[in-house]
Amino acid sequence: MKKAICSVLFLTLILATLTGCGSSAGAKNAISTDGSTSMEKVIGALGEKYQIDNPGISFSYNPTGSGSGIAAVAEGRCDIGLSSRDLKDEEKKQGLIETPVAYDGISIIVNPSNPVKNLTLEQINKIYTGKIKNWKEVGGKNIRIVLVGREAGSGTRDGFESITKTAGACDYREELTSTGDVITTVSSNPGAVGYASMASVKDSVKEISVGGVDPSEKAVKDGSYVVQRPFMLITKKGVKLSKTAQSFFNYITSKDANKIISDMGAVPAA
């Protein structure tokens, strides 16, 4: 008797847990996006605008990071994945497709007290690989350079390292897990140098020009500012987007979305 009651209760418990995990992907009138934290501002603004223009539609964005967003699309947990790096070969093999929506400039930032104004890409490479160790070697004060960067797997780090050709060779002093942490650390250490998404740089740090070109939207668009990376929309081959998600996708990759993307500090791809 006791056993029977127990097993019935146990079954109910299991059923209750299982039915709790429904999938939100593909729901009608809902768009779910998942991925890069660097794309938060851009995708958030686009989603907001789309919701205002199309009442009754619910838009969700889950800021998990490029890798998680790509995995979410591959597993069908969201409609559109967001990645701030190109897909890797093993990810393309899973049938994933990338569509650029915007480009993001990566700013090289130093402490405001640092007199250095300009670095070449080669100097940045030498600084981050530890060949240049003191600011006086690039025209600054006699202070040791402190390299601040992001954790392995971060889209910003991947973008920065692939552009400066320092992948895997960076001799970081600090590896921090968010753009905000990088900015805070650089703003409090006179010897520090770091990198951050152009859109999120604040006045508490100083942006450096690369090869004589200041980081600006115009310079990113015409390609003269070289430290930049794509913002990608990730979808899966053979999986048809819901009508709502497809219309959102078309909207943000069209010229209509350009103004919002530029307002958020990124450069539209359309």
Partner: protein, 289 residues
Amino acid sequence: MNNKKKIMEDLIHGIFLILGLITVGCVFLITVYLIISGVPAIRKIGIINFLFGTKWASTAQDPKYGILPFILTSIYGTAGAIILGVPVGFFTAVYLSKVAPSKMRQIVSFIVNMLAGIPSVVYGLVGMMVLVPGIRKLFNIPDGASLFAAIIVLSIMILPSIISVSMTALDAVPRDYEDASLALGANEIETYFRVSVPAARSGIAAAVVLGVGRAIGEAMAVMMVSGNAAKMPSLFQSVRFLTTAVASEMSYSAGLQRQALFSIALVLFLFIMLINATLNFFMKKGDVH
């Protein structure tokens, strides 16, 4: 009538059993999950390369997954916190339990409990804003985020558990022991350190082990002050702990990198199990006493 009562009784028994099983089930699930998701990467990398490899470069072209730097950092960091934290905590506990007037004891205990209630992210924040720049200026080094900063934060974080557990042990020493010692002509300080402390030693040992457990498992606060570079540990260099190795890379990880992070979690889990076993050992010993 009687039968109805019995069904009711059985039903309630069943509900309690299930509630109890939920806890056991959670521990069981976590253990099984960690083993299942942690073992594949260790097999792929090789246990020797994994545990004793000195280089961690999880996203490099030719990835390296050696976690010896993390293991050593966790051990050094915990040892450092114990070396700094235990003397302070121990003497505070002796003072509060034996010497302090009751008003003083109330106030200080209250503050110690408040210290235990501060969220670890707050410790990290204060460490990041005050301690890290302070260490940079004081020791005139390029950057203050280091093993040393983490040790200081950890040693403060383990104080409450060391103080309160030691205090409980010292309070439990029978008054007769101390009276006997005093009657034989020993003064009060002699009595506390020669009689009370030895009598409470298993409880104090348990306090230290509890502190070790707290220090080795802390992630948030040390992540904010230690710099997180995956290098072999050195006191004034940026270091990465077992906990922060998992926490800092998990959000963007993929493939073997993610599996390796689970393996790190498994190693950490084994460490904590070992510490818990030690704790149980001391507690049991205390009971026999």
